[in-house]
């Protein structure tokens, strides 16, 4: 097991190097004068030249790359012009909000998609199978920001069930003490149920928006892989041996069908991390996505580069975790590794 994790860790090294090179190129080589960006629109040529040498942009590229990697190793992603804070600190402060939203969306999507996919496969051709197909097609066609706005209109404006789409907590509620940074977890741990309810009512709509978006690939994959497993010999054998159908489906088929679904999660995370940006903008969610969007509007480039790099590294780590999880679930992978 350890050997497998080690081998898998080694394969992430080229990805991380690639990611760092691409983010470096995005800041330095491409058209557009980085120094002028950093100096702001009203800067004089002297000021730009000064910033140029201060940022080391007058050095040859390989030298710049070495100092870039050196700064990265120290966790230095530069300064944000709009907040005046180091980008690393800003991102660290806002990451829990994004993580909470993404995880809530993903858990919600899996809670709906897995049973739906399994039922669609077990009762192939029934209404639930058609429902599954509709969900899978609609999910990929709906622009995530549009779904979010529709939900806001229906559940905030028309029905009044949910609070205004303005962040993680309404102004009257107090933040829970920071333990994990996830409001839902922190408020439960500290026994503050009022804050928990306030945070929950704020997170429901954005989480549902993300869930609708990621429902399609999970449902589709669950159905397909469940169908494949149900046609396998060992399922036929289990049935012939007289096992109950809940035992056959729940234990024999489901566990095997989960393996391809877990692989799909990598792709789902790629979608989710992107969709997160749009959902955070719709719901004024104070996460890293809306931080990057604010920086984009202000032409503040260090935060955007920091955001892209952080998301990419996070994504590489998530893929690594998915592969390790795969090994935990499937002993065959462990043996090969």
């Amino acid at each position: 097991m350890l050997r497998m994790i080690g081998a898998r860790l080694m394969t992430t090294v080229p990805s991380v190097i690639g990611v760092i090179i691409v983010t470096f190129l995005l800041t330095r080589v491409l058209p557009g004068n980085t120094a002028a960006y950093f100096a702001g629109p009203a800067a004089t040529p002297q000021a730009i030249a000064e910033i140029r040498s201060k940022l080391g942009l007058d050095q040859p590229l390989p030298v710049q790359f070495v100092s870039y990697v050196g700064a990265l190793a120290k966790g230095d992603l530069g300064q944000s012009l709009t907040t005046g804070q180091p980008v690393t600190a800003d991102l660290a402060a806002r990451l829990p909000a994004s993580a909470e939203l993404t995880l809530a969306g993903l858990l919600l999507a899996m809670a709906v998609a897995l049973p739906l996919g399994v039922l669609a496969a077990v009762r192939q051709g029934s209404w639930i199978d058609h429902l599954c197909r509709v969900v899978a097609t609609a999910g990929v066609s709906l622009p995530v920001f549009f779904t979010g706005l529709l939900l806001v209109y229906v559940f905030y404006f028309q029905l009044g069930w949910s609070p205004a789409p303005l962040g993680r907590l309404d102004v009257f509620a107090s933040e829970p003490p920071r333990i994990t940074g996830l409001f839902l977890v922190d408020s439960l741990v500290s026994g503050n149920f009022e804050t928990f309810r306030a945070a929950l009512s704020q997170i429901i709509l954005p989480a549902v928006t993300l869930a609708i978006f990621s429902l399609a690939p999970i449902t589709r994959m669950t159905r397909a892989s469940m169908l494949a497993v149900l046609g396998a010999d060992f399922v036929r054998t289990a049935r012939a041996a007289g096992l109950t159908s809940s035992k056959v489906i729940g234990t024999y088929a489901f566990r095997n069908a989960m393996l391809p679904v877990i692989t799909t999660l990598g792709m789902v995370f790629s979608f989710l991390l992107g969709a997160n940006v749009l959902v955070e903008k719709v719901f004024a969610w104070p996460g890293v996505g809306s931080y990057a969007v604010e920086a984009l509007i202000a032409s503040d480039y260090a935060p955007i580069q920091g955001f892209v790099l952080t998301m990419a590294i996070l994504y590489v780590v998530l893929n690594l975790m998915i592969d390790v999880l795969y090994g935990v679930i499937d002993p065959r992978v462990r043996l090969e590794g």
Binding site: G18, P31, A138, F145, Q305, V308, Y315
Partner: protein, 305 residues
Amino acid sequence: MNDMTKADHVPAEVAPPLRFDAPPSTSLWAHARHIVSENPVTGLAFGLFALIVLAALFGPSLVPYDPLTSNTNAALQAPSAAHWFGTDQLGRDIFSRVVVATRLDFTIAIASVALVFLLGGLAGVSAGFYGGWVDKIVGRIADTIMAFPLFVLAMGIVAALGNSVTNIVIATAIINFPLYARVARAEANVRREAGFVQAARLSGNSDWRLLMTQIVPNIMPIMAVQMSLTMGYAILNAAGLSFIGLGVRPPTPEWGIMVAEGASFIVSGEWWIALFPGLALMIAVFCFNLLGDGVRDLVDPQRRN
């Protein structure tokens, strides 16, 4: 049914097109009619597609109002007989803006898909045909792009290249590159040693000629399927970028930016500003996804579901 395996699909048996059987144009047409009549959903998709193309071509000369002229007397009106989709905060007619926006959204999608078809297709075909270091380099580039969450990478590219529509096209093409390169690579790879390629090689054709006359024409149908399947994603991606304020600038009518403009009015109940451009976007994406399935049925009957 399953997009995941579609990209990795490698046909077991590869045969040159049987051109002597029947004139290909009539058989294709008959086949297309058969598919449309057999599957009404595909027919619907082709109909919607025709509508989108018409709106993109003639939209600006058909609409009842100028999409850019504001009229503050008629601001924020709900849909009515005069303004089918209502008016926005500046009194501009939303129906006219939605129709006129079709051209820009459609152009962005077509341009980015064409660009990635050229770049990704060529890179993938060379990788599959030559193998070796070409294959390694193309594979490495594709892996590096795939290491990013794709929308986030697109944001970073547009931010670095500069905020313009051209750069949205480029960013959308880059994030689709791995998909095209992989499909083209797999398809070229299985045909590399096929009998008809060997025969052409023995008759003294150069590598480049083999690629262009034997391999590329044979993988065109599969690439066409790939293109129509990614059109929807390209439109969604471009609209998402303009929703967060990249690329298209107001007052240009474009679906993503129109939804963004309408977003602040949703909480006060003016639903029509965001709803109609959002619906247009949704219908376009839906149409392209169905169309992709339809095109696949057309060119590759074995994979029908």
